[in-house]
C-alpha cells in the first residue's frame, strides 16, 4: 500500500507521467490505422475507385509511420541513456533488451511496436508486387493484405505491452483497455484471412472472430486483474464500434463528394468494419465478470458460444439475410465453444505474461 502511495505521489509531482507521451503516440498511431482501415473498407464497398494516395490509405500509412517513428525515438533515447550509463526507467515500455548484440537498447514494448511498423513497410512492397501481378483488386483477404494487417496487429500488441507496464497507474489502466480494444476491433478484419482455410461445415470466420475476441478480452481483463477489467475492454470496443458505425459511411460520403465521385449504384451504406465486430461482445464481457470465480475455460467457452451463436442474428438484424443451415450453425457454435475455452485459457495466460512486464514493486519504490 505504501509502495502504491509513493508511486502515485512520485508521478503526480510531474505534469505528465513519464512514459505517457510516447505510449499515447503509439496508441494514436494504431488508432489512425484502425480509422484508415474502416474508412478504406467502406470506400471500396460504397464508392470504388482507388489509387495509392487515397485518404484512407494515407491514414493506414500514417498510422504505422507514427507508431514506428515514436517507437524508434524511444529506442534511440534509451540506447543513448544506456551508453551514458544513465538509469533507464522501466516504466517507459518495460525492461530494455539488447538488439544486434548491445548496439541498441530497446524497451521490449517499443521493440515489438517498432518491429510491427517495420514489417508494414516490407509487406507494403510485397503488396505492391502482388497488385502488379494480380491487378488492383479490392480483395481485403489477399495474402499480402493479411501480411499488412498482421504487421499492424504486431504494432498493436506492442501498444498493449507498453501500457501493461504502467498497469498500476491510471493512464496505464485506460491505455490497456484502449490498446486491447483497438487490437480486438482490428483483428475482426484480419480473421477474414481464415476464409482461405477449409472449415468443413464450420464458418471459419465466425469461429475465428470468437477465438480472437475472447482471447483479447481475457488478456485485457487479466492484465488489469480487477473487477470491471473485462467490461472496460468490452465497453471500449462497443464505443469504437458505435463511433465507426457513424464515421465510416459519413467519411466515405464526404470524401466522395469532395473528390467529385458518385456513390455506387445499390451502395447500401451499411458500415463494413463495425459490423464485423460482434455486438454480443458486451454480453461476453458481462459473463466474464459474473463468472470470475470459475476456471478461465468456462467463461471462455460461454463467450465463444455467445459470439458464434449470435453472429447470424447480427447479420439478420443488419442485412436482413437468412439464417444459416442448422447443421452449419450448430457446427460453428460447437467450434466456438471449444475455441472460446482455449481462448479463455490463453488470454488469461497472456494477461499474466503481460503483468510480468511491469517493473517489480521494490524497483518502482526506489
Amino acid at each position: 500500500m505504501t509502495v502504491n502511495i509513493a508511486a502515485t505521489a512520485a508521478s503526480s509531482a510531474r505534469t505528465v507521467p513519464r512514459g505517457l507521451v510516447p505510449a499515447s503516440v503509439v496508441l494514436g498511431g494504431t488508432l489512425l490505422s484502425l480509422i484508415g482501415l474502416t474508412w478504406d473498407i467502406q470506400w471500396h464497398s460504397d464508392v470504388g475507385p482507388d489509387t495509392f494516395f487515397t485518404l484512407p490509405h494515407l491514414f493506414l500509412y500514417a498510422g504505422s509511420a507514427i507508431s514506428g517513428l515514436a517507437s524508434l525515438a524511444v529506442v534511440l533515447m534509451t540506447t543513448a541513456a544506456a551508453k551514458r550509463d544513465r538509469t533507464i526507467d522501466p516504466m517507459v515500455g518495460g525492461r530494455a533488451v539488447g538488439v544486434f548484440g548491445r548496439t541498441f537498447e530497446a524497451p521490449v514494448g517499443y521493440l515489438i511496436s517498432g518491429i510491427g511498423a517495420a514489417l508494414f513497410l516490407v509487406y507494403g512492397l510485397w503488396d505492391q508486387w502482388w497488385h502488379g501481378l494480380y491487378g488492383f483488386d479490392a480483395v481485403i483477404d489477399s495474402p499480402p493484405h493479411i501480411g499488412l494487417l498482421l504487421s499492424i496487429s504486431i504494432t498493436m500488441v506492442g501498444a498493449v505491452m507498453i501500457f501493461a507496464v504502467a498497469r498500476d497507474e491510471r493512464w496505464g489502466t485506460y491505455g490497456v483497455a484502449g490498446a486491447a480494444a483497438t487490437l480486438l476491433a482490428f483483428s475482426m478484419v484480419t480473421v477474414l484471412g481464415l476464409r482461405a482455410l477449409p472449415g468443413g461445415p464450420v464458418n471459419t470466420v465466425n469461429a475465428g472472430s470468437a477465438f480472437f475476441s475472447v482471447m483479447i478480452l481475457f488478456m485485457g481483463a487479466y492484465v488489469l486483474k480487477r473487477r470491471g477489467g473485462a467490461l472496460a475492454v468490452g465497453v471500449t470496443v462497443a464505443a469504437l464500434q458505435a463511433v465507426f458505425w457513424w464515421f465510416s459511411p459519413w467519411a466515405t460520403e464526404v470524401y466522395a463528394d469532395a473528390t467529385g465521385l458518385p456513390l455506387r449504384d445499390y451502395a447500401d451504406g451499411i458500415p463494413g468494419l463495425p459490423n464485423m465486430i460482434p455486438m454480443s461482445l458486451i454480453l461476453v464481457a458481462v459473463a466474464v465478470e459474473l463468472l470470475r470465480g470459475l476456471p478461465a475455460w468456462v467463461p471462455g467457452a460461454v463467450g465463444g458460444v455467445i459470439i458464434t451463436g449470435l453472429a447470424p442474428v447480427q447479420r439478420i438484424f443488419v442485412y436482413g439475410s437468412n439464417f444459416p443451415a442448422i447443421e452449419r450453425y450448430v457446427a460453428t457454435v460447437v467450434a466456438g465453444a471449444l475455441l472460446g475455452a482455449l481462448a479463455g485459457m490463453l488470454g488469461r495466460r497472456f494477461g499474466h505474461m503481460l503483468r510480468h512486464l511491469a517493473p517489480a514493486k521494490e524497483e518502482r519504490h526506489a
Binding site: 505528465v16 505517457l20 507521451v21 499515447s24 503516440v25 494514436g28 464508392v47 470504388g48 475507385p49 482507388d50 489509387t51 494516395f53 487515397t54 485518404l55 494515407l58 491514414f59 500514417a62 507514427i66 515489438i112 518491429i115 510491427g116 514489417l119 509487406y123 510485397w126 502482388w130 501481378l133 494480380y134 491487378g135 488492383f136 483488386d137 479490392a138 480483395v139 495474402p143 499480402p144 493479411i146 501480411g147 498482421l150 504487421s151 496487429s153 504486431i154 500488441v157 482461405a196 469532395a258 473528390t259 465521385l261 458518385p262 455506387r264 449504384d265 445499390y266 495466460r349 497472456f350 499474466h352 505474461m353 503483468r355 510480468h356 511491469a358
Partner: protein, 172 residues
C-alpha cells in the same frame, strides 16, 4: 502532451491538404469484347485484360447498344454451371455510361458463364455469355504466398513461446 496533439493535428491537416489533388483514377481500357444477345437487346461485354486469368482483377463493362437509360437487370455469374454471384447490374464507377464490375477477379480457373437478365422499354430478355475460359492464376502457388504473408504471425507465436517460458510464476 500539447505538442504531441499539435503534431498529430498537423499530420492529419497535411494529409487532408495533399491528397485531394493527388487522386487520378485509371480510365477503363477495354481490350477485348464479346457480343451477347439478351432478348431484344444487343449487349457488348468488355474486358480490360484478355485472356482472363484466375484471381487477376480486371474491369468488366456491360454495354447495351442503345445505352442503359430506362433499363435495369441482374448479372448472375456461374462457375462450371454453379451460381457464384447474383447482383443487380450497376454502373461502372469509372465509366458511368455503362454497367460494369470494377477491378473484379474470377477466383478459380475453368469455364465461367455470365447470365444477363435485362428489362427495358423493349421488354425483358435473358442472355448468356457462355464458355468464358479462365486460365490458371499467375504468380507463385497460393501456399507459398500464404507462407510469406503469415511470417508476422509465426514471429508473434515465437515471441509468445519465449515469453511463456520465462513467465511461469504469477505476478500480483
Amino acid at each position: 502532451m500539447r505538442k504531441t496533439l499539435l503534431g498529430l493535428a498537423g499530420t492529419v491537416a497535411l494529409l487532408l491538404g495533399l491528397t485531394a489533388p493527388a487522386l487520378a483514377f485509371e480510365p477503363v481500357n477495354v481490350v477485348h469484347t464479346e457480343k451477347v444477345q439478351v432478348g431484344p437487346y444487343d449487349l457488348t461485354v468488355g474486358f480490360s485484360t484478355w485472356p482472363v486469368k484466375a484471381m487477376q482483377s480486371l474491369d468488366f463493362t456491360f454495354a447495351p447498344e442503345d445505352g442503359i437509360t430506362g433499363k435495369k437487370g441482374t448479372l448472375t455469374v456461374l462457375h462450371n454451371g454453379v451460381e457464384a454471384e447474383d447482383d443487380p447490374l450497376a454502373r461502372h464507377p469509372r465509366k458511368r455510361e455503362v454497367w460494369g464490375l470494377d477491378i473484379y477477379a474470377l477466383p478459380e480457373p475453368g469455364t465461367w458463364t455470365m447470365r444477363f437478365d435485362v428489362e427495358g422499354p423493349a421488354g425483358a430478355g435473358t442472355g448468356e455469355l457462355t464458355n468464358l475460359q479462365v486460365m490458371e492464376q499467375p504468380g507463385p502457388p497460393m501456399g507459398l504466398s500464404w507462407a510469406v504473408s503469415t511470417i508476422p504471425l509465426f514471429g508473434l507465436i515465437a515471441l509468445i513461446v519465449i515469453a511463456w517460458r520465462r513467465t511461469r510464476t504469477a505476478v500480483d
